[in-house]
């Protein structure tokens, strides 16, 4: 199962709590009735579908309920960056420059997940794995 970082819950959560919301950063025209058929078709139906970085909306529907945006690599399915809805779209070059230290797709030991202090830095443990 994929672990996805939710920018509102501020931790990685299992994939089945989330729902994909299609391509991000598609602006609806303020004068939708005045759009030409071609422009409306392009807004409504045409998506970029690139091989490489894709910008997607995701919704943490079985968690905080919030929409957020994610940059994902469509070749590897890796999540490279998540950011809150309304924040500016990061440039691809910038995303590639600052890949997260820990990504959901890296095989993080269970003890290091979802905690402020990784297990290896903690003095005492309560026996939890």
């Amino acid at each position: 199962m994929l672990l996805i970082h939710c920018p509102y819950c501020q931790e990685e959560r299992p994939e089945i709590e989330f729902r994909n919301g299609g391509e991000a950063h598609i602006a609806r025209s303020t004068n939708i009735a005045g759009e030409s058929d071609e422009a409306f078709e392009s807004f409504f139906f045409i998506r970029t579908n690139p091989k490489g970085l894709v910008y997607e909306r995701w919704r943490h529907i079985h968690g905080c309920g919030r929409f957020f945006n994610a940059v994902r690599d469509s070749v590897t399915d890796k999540f490279l960056r998540v950011y809150k809805a309304g924040e500016p779209q990061p440039e691809p070059a910038e995303v590639m420059k600052t890949l997260p230290e820990h990504s959901a797709w890296e095989n993080i030991p269970p003890a290091d997940q979802n905690v402020a202090t990784p297990a290896r830095d903690r003095v005492s443990t309560d026996g939890e794995a």
Partner: protein, 184 residues
């Protein structure tokens, strides 16, 4: 002449008469509670907290309990308030003038108390979250999934969880948890 007949109606909970203790895990229906689905922007936190008598938590996955009343963080502007005592949160919120939405969902939800040493394992049979004590400490709460349904999970003690689900799903949730308890 029609004779007056005294009609008595008895309220039946969704999980009445269901309780199980399997492999050291106890499943009990929670006692009836008043519940409020609360939505408010951050500027309304202080007056609502004052009215409710507890500080609405603003940190993800945390809850605050005062007396019989708990406020569970569900989202950045969303809380679930549960009161299984005498208090009525809706009445307490009625006088607040700041813009907010408080909906009485007392009868929408039913709750199951899962307790026992292996309570986390039983819930993990259908819930994909990390329920270790460090990732999900006492007081932690989250909306998440259990099998095919959505639940709100609250850890009330190291070995005790409260599972809130929609009333019509209560039978499914209880059966799912008791099946899981047979397997741990």
């Amino acid at each position: 002449m029609v004779e007056a007949v005294a009609i008595t109606a008895k309220r039946r909970g969704a999980l009445d008469h269901r309780s199980e203790a399997i492999n050291g895990v106890s499943l009990q229906p929670a006692k009836p509670a008043r519940r409020v689905s609360l939505r408010v922007r951050s500027d309304g936190l202080a007056p609502l907290s004052l009215a409710l008598g507890l500080d609405l938590p603003s940190k993800p996955k945390t809850s605050v309990t005062a007396n019989s009343r708990s406020a569970l963080w569900l989202g950045p502007d969303e809380w679930l308030v549960i009161d299984d005592g005498e208090g009525d949160p809706i009445a307490d919120l009625a006088g607040v003038s700041v813009l907010h939405s408080a909906v009485d969902v007392s009868h929408r939800n039913a709750a199951i108390i899962v307790s026992g040493e292996k309570a986390a394992d039983v819930i993990n049979a259908g819930c994909p979250q990390d329920l270790g004590l460090q990732a999900f400490p006492v007081g932690a709460c989250s909306r998440t999934v259990l099998g095919k349904i959505e639940i709100v999970l609250l850890r009330t003690a190291p070995d005790t969880f409260r599972v809130e689900c929609w009333r019509s799903f209560a039978d499914y949730a209880f059966s799912y948890l008791s099946d899981a308890a047979r397997g741990v």
